[in-house]
């Protein structure tokens, strides 16, 4: 059960404060800010307690979203809730910032009233909320684009709906993003030791009246180790979870997700794959590390991109002239930045480091290489959106976007 919810700016200003159960004083806000700013990096910030009060918080949009509780409640519930609340506020206000929260405090209080009652979370679905706020329409001024207060009742009824999504400029658009994150560990002998992919399909919907949409995935999409479908190379994942609103009656037979998208953004499907990538990892590193006669540490790094060349055919600067490298003494790291890297090519770099008191043992101390990158238009698992159908058929110009991207989560090559 949530006792209080408050939103603080990064400087600790009170933006929103709501007490649901009258169990604890408003000085909790001050206590929280003191505690959170006194945290050192290695302390888990997730749950903090002060006397009988427990704080759970997340940071989003540079703001602290905090809930307190006095009972043995579930931190999962509270963290999930705070994330949803932030998403809701973002959906309603258009963006998350100190300013947007300040501008809409009355609206956020109203939202909070509907979302939580006496510490019990009621609903965070923007669809359901929209209904309530529609009836109480007078106050639903999502971000005050249209000042409804001085227009007549009839006009209010008309413009209310517009309000919700008109920050999209009145365009009806829908985005379906397939986002994957890769965690790879390559051993010092070049062996692939671990390769995990976490993926999600995210829908951002700004359509005024979309009652149902169907998303078709690859027919050969299969779940688990045993199940194989289709004739070609299977697209396989280990585990899938779906948003509650997704109906799966066509999923088993045709790999189709049916859903009625709410306005705003939601993750409809999440999936994981571990240790069985369909293709080779995208980058390989061939390091040589030695000590030269002058007592310097020599690091010769050769980095190869194993993606098919056509993937990045738009990039033609093979030599990558705008590379840069930097030594970060604080974190004892060398950072090598490569703005673009074409598939099928390789880059090399030689770093000479003056290390005081370098011994042969120090070579053992050279830690792993971490890569962070973004691969557009590519999914590591091979998950694809086959089609995207909306019903009823959208009148007028509507735009649909399907985007793929793979990020590195933790891509480590050991030396």
């Amino acid at each position: 059960m949530i006792s209080q919810v408050f939103i603080l700016s990064s400087k600790g200003d009170h933006l929103i404060y709501k007490d649901f159960r009258g169990e604890s004083g408003s000085d909790a806000v001050g206590v929280f800010y003191e505690k959170v700013t006194a945290l050192t990096g290695d302390q888990p910030p997730v749950v903090m307690s002060h006397k009988d009060l427990h704080f759970v918080h997340v940071r989003q949009g540079g703001l602290y979203w905090v809930a307190t509780t006095t009972a043995d409640s579930s931190p999962f519930t509270i963290i999930e809730f705070l994330n949803r609340l932030a998403a809701l506020v973002k959906d309603y206000c258009g963006s998350l910032s100190e300013k947007s929260v300040q501008m809409n405090f009355a609206l956020i209080y109203e939202l909070l009233d509907e979302v939580v009652d006496y510490g019990y979370i009621q609903t965070t679905s923007s669809d359901v909320l929209k209904n309530f706020i529609q009836t109480e329409a007078v106050s639903s001024r999502p971000f005050s684009l249209f000042d409804l207060s001085n227009v007549g009742l009839v006009q209010k009824q008309l413009s209310r709906r517009l309000g919700f999504f008109s920050f999209q400029g009145g365009k009806s658009e829908i985005f379906v993003d397939v986002i994957e994150r890769m965690s790879v560990v390559i051993g010092s002998n070049g062996m692939l030791m671990k390769a995990d992919v976490e993926g999600e399909i995210r829908v951002k919907c700004y359509l005024p009246n979309c009652s149902e949409m169907r998303i078709g995935l690859n027919e050969e999409f299969s779940i688990g180790k045993s199940q194989l479908r289709g004739y070609g190379a299977a697209v396989r994942v280990d585990e899938v979870s779906f948003h509650q609103m997704v109906r799966l009656d066509e999923f088993d037979s045709h790999r189709i997700l049916r859903l009625c998208p709410s306005q705003g953004e939601q993750t409809v499907m999440q999936y994981q794959l571990s240790d069985d990538l369909p293709s080779a990892p995208p980058f390989r590193l061939f390091p040589t590390i030695e000590r030269d006669s002058g007592g310097r540490l020599l690091m010769y790094l050769k980095l190869r991109c194993d993606l098919p060349p056509k993937r990045f055919s738009t990039f033609h600067n093979l030599s990558s002239p705008d590379q840069s490298a930097e030594l970060k003494p604080q974190s004892r790291a060398v950072v090598w930045k490569i703005p673009r890297f074409t598939g099928g090519t390789q880059l090399s770099a030689l770093f000479k480091l003056e290390v005081p008191g370098l011994s042969s043992a120090s070579l053992l101390e050279v830690g792993p290489v971490g890569l962070s990158f973004e691969l557009p238009k590519l999914t590591a698992t091979g998950v694809q959106i086959r089609f995207l159908r909306l019903s009823p058929v959208q009148p007028g110009p509507s735009q649909r976007w399907v985007r793929y991207v793979t990020h590195s989560d933790s891509y480590t090559i050991r030396i």
Partner: protein, 967 residues
């Protein structure tokens, strides 16, 4: 796109000036008046703007309660936005203005009849949030209607309102029959209503543990399971948490519930997943392990747990804390998933450390190679803390997986080769543990360790190295040289190293007596004469005496076989683990503490405790310790001399004429101050230990012990006295529960007034029962009594009631009720009480000792779970064991006898004809004392082990045990 929207917003702001942010602009004087005027304006718009401004001020913490009547006046409106704003204000301020809040009642009641369901719900919701007692009676009728409303939105709001009302006035809710209505709502057609009714009932049931409110039977469970499929994700959590409290009748029912809960495991909301895991983990206990379904279920649990690790770091951390519990309970679930717990370089440190812990728990012979390779990699990372933990983890693997020990040791040796300072030190610390686990197996590495002797600069590593040298002194040729080199800087070492060095050299001496005599004498004199650390000194004296009286015994003591250590030491105790498993997904599972330890209701366990380890010994400068023999001659546990007593009592407001006092006057003021400081200092450290939050008590007591005169002969027995006089006991009247009266103040010392008395606890009240006898020639009148500060804050609850004058040779009986809210000061012995009695003749002083059993309170019975957790939580150092001789009671008789004195038996176990009684008792100041009483049939000697966070009380408690059992 968003930027664009922002920009647009800003433009609008300039144009229309209607956005909300302007309400936050700084305010000037007279603002309240301006607002007042605006609130009373005729224009709706202006009113609304004004209310918004008020709420903005409220949010940033300004006090706008003065506007209460004006805001309430705006309530009667058909404008819903305005109404909501006014309600928001009401909820915040109604409590501080209860009389004004009544003004709003009529509108609420009217709104509850409104045709619009949203207004009905809004009114009932807000009314419940106004926590004013007077309003509740007006709330009942509307609430009753709303509970039966046709609109589910109103019903679900009303369901929650019952919980709100119950919190304000539980009796009213029961009397009005709302609980039955709430129970009916569990069968409601709308899943949201069901979920809220379940949530409300669950909360109400928590405050009535024995009521059968949530009457869970197969029918209701079936309804809940049906609702589970339809309601929102948050509702699912309420229902799953409620299901977890149900106990199925048999394994078939258990299986069918599991089958219906399993689909929740693939929910996107991790809170739903965790609640489902909790239900499954619990119900799995009922399934026979050979059942096919059991295996299937195990398999199904792994993927969702792994999925949780792909969430953001905050959720990952919480998930890992839970997984840590699950792998301890059922390691088979995740035994194949070791790889997901390998750390990523971009994990936050707190996630890395948790993963490390789980890796070790999952380590087995099958995967140890993989784990070790991984740990070795971690040892080269940048983050020092993490590297240390990784090195330590290698040691734990060695201890856990016996077959891997050799591999671990060689990995550690590799790491020592890197010569990275902190890696080497950490490796040496864990190698010490490996030696403890596998003695006489890996001594070959000692040579390598010795090479790194000079680089060790951390106390723990130095102590570990010294331990190794001492333990294997016979195999290290130059052990004496090595230890001697440490000895040079003896005084600069930390206590840990000093203690270890002392022991190591004594070990060395016992192994090679001929060459090391000089060395051992050197260290003994360093430890006993030049050190002011009581622990070190005590240990030095013990060794010294052992060596000088009986070297054979010394050998047996010092070189005794040590128990092997095992990895079990870092596991959570099974009973606690079982409890924590029942709380998967909650705060308890993150803290790894039972909820009773941090949730309101059992605060006594958590907050009200005296400190443990910070004993009086450390801060008390003990008397000149020239020789051990001299000290042992000191009288045991002295009552403070009259001088000190007087000094303290002078500070009370009795104001006796200083010239006529009977007892000798204080010898010197310096000494007096010394006594104060001494006691004050002891208390400071006593309070400083765990009590932490309430320095107010400690603050008043004198200067820190540092400022104490060094030559002062403390009347308080130092650590050494205790050491040599353990059996001596303190001069405590060994009476019964209420001991017979003894003479406290003889007539000759008090100009003819004789006082004898005793203490008793009657109906929860401590009483001091006295007989005052006048043995003088004249009448005595005007009695008054006062206590000096004492260990438990005993103070007279009222004046001494001696109504009639006491004529010569007359005795009167007086009972003086006491309370325990007086000022606190630690006394020696703990139960000493210094009393001043005044009459028309003079002021007299005496001290007496009360049996501590009269401070045992009636609610000292601990919950079994709490007892187990607390018992485990209190360090073993705080345990003390006593013998009670010649007691001829059966264990049951003993139990009931002790119960009469508020020592409660919580559990009884019989092992090999020996009865073990587990007992708890609580002192008036909230200290819990846990006891284990062992009674062997036919043996008149009982053994009682006491555990308490404040070990000082153990001796007194034991005396009470003895007194109660023998009378």
């Amino acid at each position: 796109m968003q930027e664009w929207a922002n920009q647009l917003c800003e433009n609008r702001q300039f144009g229309s000036k209607m956005t909300d942010s302007k309400y936050f602009t700084t305010t000037k004087k007279g603002e309240i008046f301006e607002l007042k005027a605006e609130l009373n304006s005729d224009k709706k718009e202006k009113k609304k703007e004004a209310v918004k401004k008020v709420i903005a001020s409220m949010t940033v913490g300004k006090d706008v309660s003065a506007l209460f009547p004006d805001v309430v006046n705006c309530m009667q409106t058909d404008n819903l936005e305005l109404k909501k704003l006014v309600y928001l204000y009401l909820m915040n301020y109604a409590k501080s203005q209860p009389d004004m809040a009544i003004m709003a009642v009529n509108t609420f009641v009217k709104d509850c009849e409104d045709p619009n369901p949203l207004i009905r719900a809004l009114a009932v919701r807000t009314m419940g949030c106004i926590r004013v007692d007077k309003i509740t009676e007006y709330l009942c009728e509307p609430l009753r209607k709303c509970l039966k409303d046709e609109d589910p939105y109103v019903r679900k709001t009303a369901a929650v309102c019952v919980a709100k009302l119950h919190d304000i006035n539980a009796q009213l809710v029961e009397d009005q029959g709302f609980l039955d209505t709430l129970k009916d709502l569990i069968s409601d057609s709308n899943p949201m209503v069901v979920a809220n009714a379940v949530a409300a009932l669950s909360e109400i049931a928590e405050s009535h543990p024995n009521s059968n409110l949530l009457d869970l039977n197969p029918q209701t469970i079936n309804k809940l399971l049906t609702a589970l499929n339809e309601c929102t994700e948050w509702g699912q959590i309420f229902i799953l948490d409620c299901l977890a409290n149900y106990t199925p009748r048999d394994d078939r029912e258990s299986q069918s519930i599991c089958e219906r809960v399993t689909p929740r495991l693939s929910h996107a909301n991790s809170a739903v997943v965790l609640s489902a895991v909790k239900v499954l983990m619990k119900f799995m206990e009922m399934l026979p392990k050979d059942l096919d379904y059991y295996g299937t279920l195990l398999k199904k649990l792994a993927p969702p747990l792994v999925t949780l690790l792909s969430a953001e770091p905050e959720l990952q951390y919480v998930a890992l804390r839970n997984i840590n519990l699950i792998v301890q309970r059922r390691p088979e679930i995740l035994k194949h998933e070791m790889k997901v717990f390998f750390v990523k370089y971009n994990d936050p440190i707190y996630v890395k450390l948790e993963k490390l812990d789980i890796m070790i728990r999952l380590a087995s012979q099958a995967n140890i190679a993989q784990v070790l390779a991984e740990l070795k990699e971690y040892a080269t990372e940048v983050d020092v803390d993490f590297v240390r933990k990784a090195v330590r983890a290698i040691g734990r693997c060695a201890i856990k997986v016996e077959q891997s020990a050799e591999r671990c040791v060689s990995t550690l040796l590799d790491l020592i080769q890197t010569k990275v300072n902190y890696v080497v030190q950490e490796a040496i610390v864990v190698i010490k543990d490996i030696f403890r686990k596998y003695p006489n197996k890996y001594e070959s590495v000692i040579a390598t360790l010795c090479e790194n002797l000079d680089s060790l600069d951390e106390p723990e590593a130095r102590a570990a190295m010294i331990w190794i040298v001492g333990e294997y002194a016979e195999r290290i040729d130059n052990a004496d040289e090595l230890l001697e080199s440490f000895l040079e800087g003896f005084h600069d070492e930390s206590t840990q190293v000093q203690l270890q060095l002392l022991t190591a050299i004594v070990k060395l001496f016992l192994k090679k007596p001929t060459e090391t005599q000089e060395l051992v004498q050197q260290v003994l004199s360093l430890a006993t004469q030049d050190s002011d650390n009581p622990d070190l000194r005590d240990r030095g004296y013990i060794y010294w005496r052992l060596l000088s009286t009986d070297p054979v015994a010394a050998k047996e003591v010092v070189l005794a076989e040590k128990p092997l250590i095992s990895e079990e030491t870092d596991l959570i105790e099974p009973t606690l683990l079982e409890e924590l498993i029942c709380h998967i997904g909650t705060l308890a599972s993150v803290y790894h503490k039972p909820p009773s330890a941090f949730v309101e209701g059992s605060r006594g366990v958590q907050h009200k405790r005296l400190p443990g380890s910070a004993g009086s010994g450390e801060s008390v400068e003990s008397p000149d310790t020239g020789s051990a023999a001299g000290v042992s001659d000191a009288p045991p546990a002295v009552i403070p001399s009259q001088g000190d007593l007087l000094g303290d009592l002078l500070n009370l407001d009795l104001a006796p004429p200083a010239t006529t006092t009977g007892p000798p006057p204080p010898t010197s003021s310096g000494m007096q101050m010394g006594a104060m400081d001494l006691l004050g200092g002891g208390l400071d450290s006593l309070l400083g230990g765990d009590l932490g939050g309430s320095p107010a008590m400690g603050a008043g007591f004198g200067a820190p012990p540092a400022g104490m005169p060094a030559s002062f002969n403390a009347p308080v027995s130092g650590g050494l006295d205790d050491l040599f006089d353990l059996g001596g006991g303190v001069g405590m009247p060994s009476g019964a529960y209420s001991p017979p009266k003894s003479i406290w103040l003889p007539a000759m010392k008090a100009k003819g007034l004789e006082i004898s008395g005793t203490f008793a606890r009657r109906a929860g009240v401590v009483q001091m029962e006295m007989t005052l006898t006048n043995k003088a020639m004249s009448v005595m009148t005007d009695f008054a009594i006062q206590f000096n500060r004492n260990s438990f804050g005993l103070a007279p609850a009222g004046p001494l009631q001696v109504l009639t004058p006491v004529s010569p040779n007359q005795s009167i009986e007086v009972a003086l009720p006491l309370n325990t809210v007086g000022p606190v000061m630690k006394m020696e012995p703990l139960n000493n009480l210094q009393v001043a009695v005044k009459n028309n003749i003079d002021v007299f002083y005496f001290s007496c000792q009360y049996p501590i059993s009269m401070l045992f309170v009636e609610d000292g019975k601990m919950e079994r779970q709490v007892f187990l957790a607390t018992w485990k939580d209190i360090p073993n150092d705080n345990e003390s064991q006593f013998q009670i001789k010649d007691c001829h009671l059966s264990s049951d008789a003993a139990s009931s006898k002790l119960q009469g004195s508020n020592i409660f038996t919580i559990a009884k176990r019989t092992v090999d004809g020996q009865d073990m009684l587990y007992q708890s008792t609580k002192l008036t100041n909230g200290i819990w004392v846990l006891a284990e009483l062992r009674v062997q049939a036919g043996n008149p000697n009982y053994t009682v082990s006491l555990k308490c966070r404040a070990p000082e009380v153990a001796q007194c408690v034991f005396q009470s045990y003895e007194a109660v059992l023998k009378n």
